[in-house]
């Protein structure tokens, strides 16, 4: 039987690079008349300069304020009045901008992203307005929230020593308020070159026609120098690092532990750590939940995951496996930490039964399938995989790679999580003074 290669559906990736360096990946899939568009710039919180904490995120806000062809709010209005929604986010290693729309809005969405890649409207007025908005965002999510920023903003400061890895990516108010229009223009010039970005489009699209539209709208954005990505590596702890955070809004104690893990670029070494995080702390069948919540009843919730603020396949080195435990009022954090150590030691010495690992991998695979079912999530993952790993196909390939992880690899990963190489952060409920 003659076979023709499918040009739509799971597994299909088309890629091209424009002359200005913009990398493009397309994932055609006509199962629903919708599309996702995402632009990933290879700059994040780790790249912001000292004295300018929070700047990468503040700049993300400025990218929504208008551009060469669009007045304030027009970008947003065009996406919404085309039947779509949009957002952006700033993470340790990237800043992304994305929208999901009915398929017939594809050309318009490409135009909108190209217009702000060419020339965002960075003005004094927009900057002052968005500094105020970002401060409200920080009040909502951190200052006025019990456990605000725990542990994603606060644990890195304990585990890491260098500014790029340790600092608070939301930023200090004084530093946000000292940001200038020139800072923003310099940041754009340096990091938002087309060659420093990946554009991903997925959904109900014709690949050839889409490439032609991308050439039309992005092709004449001038090529600019692409900054070399700095090496953010720093040595792992050789003794336990500890801090306490008094939180007068928190009703009960909490504790987070973090351990450095292998470079995510090396999937063969990194995927066993993801499987270990699943064994230890994902769901009701996990070991930390069974021990701390079900058996000892020393915790109300317990879990573990890899990375601080993004998904574990969306981050570069250095990152961490994080265990997070919420205690009841008056609970004993030291007892909880001892129990976590025992559970990790038990994996390291007794190993993981193969059927337990199979269960964890089945659940993780199902979660990855569910993300791939969503046109926006699929687009985001494709852009990130292409940018950080040069392989958008990982959207569909990771489940099989996870199935290849062996119990011995998980056991070996557990042996690296020792009390003397970790960071520990305690949230201590404080009385209002």
């Amino acid at each position: 039987m003659a076979s023709t290669k499918a040009r739509t559906g799971p597994g299909v990736v088309e890629r091209t690079t424009l002359r200005n360096g913009l990398r493009v990946v397309l994932l055609p899939d006509d199962s629903a008349p919708v599309i996702g568009v995402a632009v990933y710039y290879d700059v994040g919180i780790r790249s912001e300069p000292e004295g300018r904490t929070g700047f990468a995120h503040l700049f993300e806000h400025l990218m929504f304020q208008g551009s060469a062809s669009l007045g304030k709010m027009e970008h947003i209005r065009y996406v919404e009045s085309s039947g779509g929604w949009l957002n952006g986010s700033t993470r340790l290693d990237y800043t992304n901008y994305y929208e999901a729309l009915p398929a017939h809005a594809l050309e318009r969405a490409l135009f909108l992203e190209a217009d702000r890649m060419r020339s965002p409207a960075v003005t004094e007025e927009n900057l002052a307005n968005q500094i105020a908005v970002v401060e409200e965002e920080i009040r909502v999510n951190v200052h006025n929230q019990p456990y605000g920023g725990f542990p994603w903003l606060t644990l890195p400061a304990v585990l890491f020593e260098t500014f790029p890895n340790a600092h608070d990516g939301y930023g200090a108010f004084a530093e946000l308020e000292s940001a200038t229009v020139d800072d923003a223009r310099d940041f754009f010039a340096r990091y938002y070159a087309p060659g420093n970005a990946v554009l991903a489009v997925s959904g109900d699209l014709d690949p050839d026609a889409t490439v032609a539209l991308i050439e039309r709208y992005f092709g004449d954005i001038p090529r600019r120098r692409v900054p070399a990505r700095p090496d953010f590596a720093e040595p792992a702890p050789t003794s336990e690092r500890r801090q306490q955070h008094v939180d007068r809004q928190a009703p009960a104690p909490a504790v987070a532990l973090g351990w450095r893990v292998p470079d995510p670029a090396d999937l063969a070494a990194y995927l066993p750590v993801l499987a270990l995080a699943g064994v230890l702390g994902s769901g009701d069948a996990s070991r930390l939940t069974r021990r701390l919540v079900h058996a000892d009843r020393t915790a109300t919730d317990a879990g573990s995951h890899v990375s601080f603020m993004e998904n574990p396949l969306d981050v570069r080195d250095p990152t961490a496996l994080v265990a997070e435990v919420r205690l009841p009022e008056g609970g004993d954090p030291d007892a909880v930490v001892r129990a976590v150590d025992e559970e990790i030691a038990r994996v390291a010495t007794d190993g993981v039964p193969p059927d337990e690992l199979r269960r964890v991998v089945a659940r993780t695979s199902a979660e990855l399938h569910q993300l791939a079912d969503n046109v926006m999530e699929r687009t985001l993952a494709a852009a990130s995989y292409e940018q950080q790993r040069g392989r958008a196909e990982l959207v569909w390939e990771v489940p099989a790679m996870l199935r290849a992880v062996t119990p011995e690899q998980v056991t070996a990963a557990a042996a690296t999580l020792t009390p003397t190489t970790r960071a520990r952060l305690d949230v201590v409920p404080g009385s209002p003074s």
């Binding site: 039947g83 908005v133 009040r139 006025n144 754009f188 010039a189 009960a252 109300t300 009022e329």
Partner: protein
């Protein structure tokens, strides 16, 4: 000179292409002998299957919300065949999960698994529905956790502010309690849940939706095999009538030291099936539902007072509601209230511009297509429709209903929905700093915090 400061010439925004018709899912349906209605839809995009089960069972008193939630949270603690650990292992092995949640109108069980495991997932579901044992010691454990969670939610401004608004709107009606009070939860007798389950968790009026990579006929057969033995009880189930809305002064609830004021306002809304619903949706979208809405353009993008505002329409059995939330720094609470009243006044006294209506209609139409384009989104949407006696045809016909909405209808809908004089107003925040400035704008009653 940096590229950003070199003015690029403006270009023309391209038009939209011709819209593509979404292919609507075909649904298959069967009513089992015990009364359970099962709806199945095939969507093969990824090798998963999702289920949603809704059991209507009204909570009669606000203080019993905790009992409903504890019942839901304790359903998976063991059955006559399997322990808690064995259930969790079985679900995990299917790549699956199963969660139960309670609200004043009933319980929802939501789950998913790898597609070939649907039989196993339905087997666990049937086993829980007919044989959950509620072991006393484990229920006690979950009772403590639920009480701790209540304490946490009461300490979190967004959830606490929603509770304050609901209590002000609904009083002692169960809709008035969003967070079970820890002291009420701790009074529940752990040994009483099994009987509660027998009385309340029955197939009478229940609905099961199955969506995923499975042939509908097979899904219906599997549902019949595993849930056919769930015994009916012919119980009657009515939600207490909600009290008429009682407007009055803005209620300020003290949260000492709070750096923000959490403003909530809202009132009654029409049901999904009401003829005015499409115009109400458009009015809500123009006022604050869109990111490019009037309230966000004013409070966030012009004044910088807030990170965002949002509205929530809750479709409940005894009456739907709308509530809008805005969180602002304490210092700007009074001017933010003034701007909010201005925008409300504008939308209830004047018809919107035709292009505002058109934008909102496009947004509501497009995002509905996006929402139904995933297995889990379609399952959630279908459940919401089927529970209200509607079906997938509502999804098919709604774009035409939205397209027929004109500015005058939006004006009339807004006047009925958002007139400031018909709304209930609450603020959670630092009363010492908020009372005087708010009282210069409107009448304020202050209450000590929880």
């Amino acid at each position: 000179m940096s590229p950003a400061s070199r003015a690029a010439a403006p270009r023309e925004v391209p038009a939209l292409a011709a819209p593509r018709r979404p292919r609507l899912p075909r649904s298959s349906e069967r009513v089992l002998a015990n009364g359970l209605r099962v709806v199945a839809v095939r969507r093969p995009a990824v090798p998963l299957v999702h289920l949603r089960l809704r059991v209507p069972t009204a909570t009669r008193r606000a203080r019993d919300i905790g009992r409903t939630e504890l019942l839901a949270q304790s359903m998976l603690l063991g059955t006559d065949r399997r322990s808690e650990a064995a259930l969790a292992d079985a679900l995990q092995a299917m790549g699956g999960g199963l969660r139960a949640g309670g609200d004043p109108d009933g319980l929802t069980l939501a789950g998913e698994s790898l597609a070939p495991e649907l039989g196993g997932l339905l087997d666990v579901l049937g086993e829980v529905l007919t044989g959950a044992t509620y072991p006393r010691a484990l229920v006690e454990r979950e009772r403590t956790r639920l009480a701790e969670r209540g304490r946490l939610q009461l300490s979190q401004p967004p959830s606490a502010a929603a509770d304050v608004w609901a209590a002000r709107r609904y009083g002692e009606h169960p809709y008035g309690r969003r967070i079970p009070r820890p002291e009420e939860v701790l009074e529940i007798a752990p040994g009483s849940l099994r009987a509660t389950h027998g009385r309340r968790i029955t197939p009478d009026g229940a609905v099961l939706v199955i969506v995923g990579d499975v042939a509908p006929a097979r899904a219906l057969d599997l549902a019949e095999r595993h849930l056919g033995g769930w015994a009916a009880s012919a119980r009657t189930d009515a939600v207490p009538r909600v009290p008429a809305i009682e407007t009055g002064p803005l209620l300020l609830v003290d949260r000492p030291g709070s750096v923000q004021a959490n403003l909530r306002f809202g009132g009654d809304a029409p049901d999904l099936s009401d003829p005015s619903f499409p115009a109400v949706q458009v009015a809500d979208a123009i006022f604050t539902g869109l990111f490019s809405s009037r309230l966000i353009a004013n409070l966030r993008e012009d004044k910088g007072y807030t990170y965002g505002s949002y509205s929530t329409m809750r479709h409940q059995r005894a009456g739907s509601s709308i509530a809008v939330g805005v969180d602002v720094a304490t210092d700007v609470a009074a001017p933010a209230l003034v701007e909010t009243l201005y925008e409300l006044g504008r939308i209830v006294t004047l018809p919107p511009q035709p292009d505002e209506v058109e934008a909102a209609v496009q947004y509501l139409t497009g995002t509905a297509v996006l929402g139904a384009a995933t297995q889990s989104g379609l399952a959630d949407t279908l459940l919401q429709l089927v529970v209200r006696g509607l079906d997938v045809s509502w999804l098919r016909d709604h774009p035409a209903r939205l397209a027929a909405v004109d500015p005058d209808q939006v004006h009339a809908a807004a006047a009925a929905l958002l007139a400031p004089s018909r709304l209930v107003w609450t603020v959670l925040g630092d009363a010492d700093r908020l009372h005087a400035p708010l009282a210069t704008v409107t009448e304020v009653t202050t209450l000590a915090g929880a």
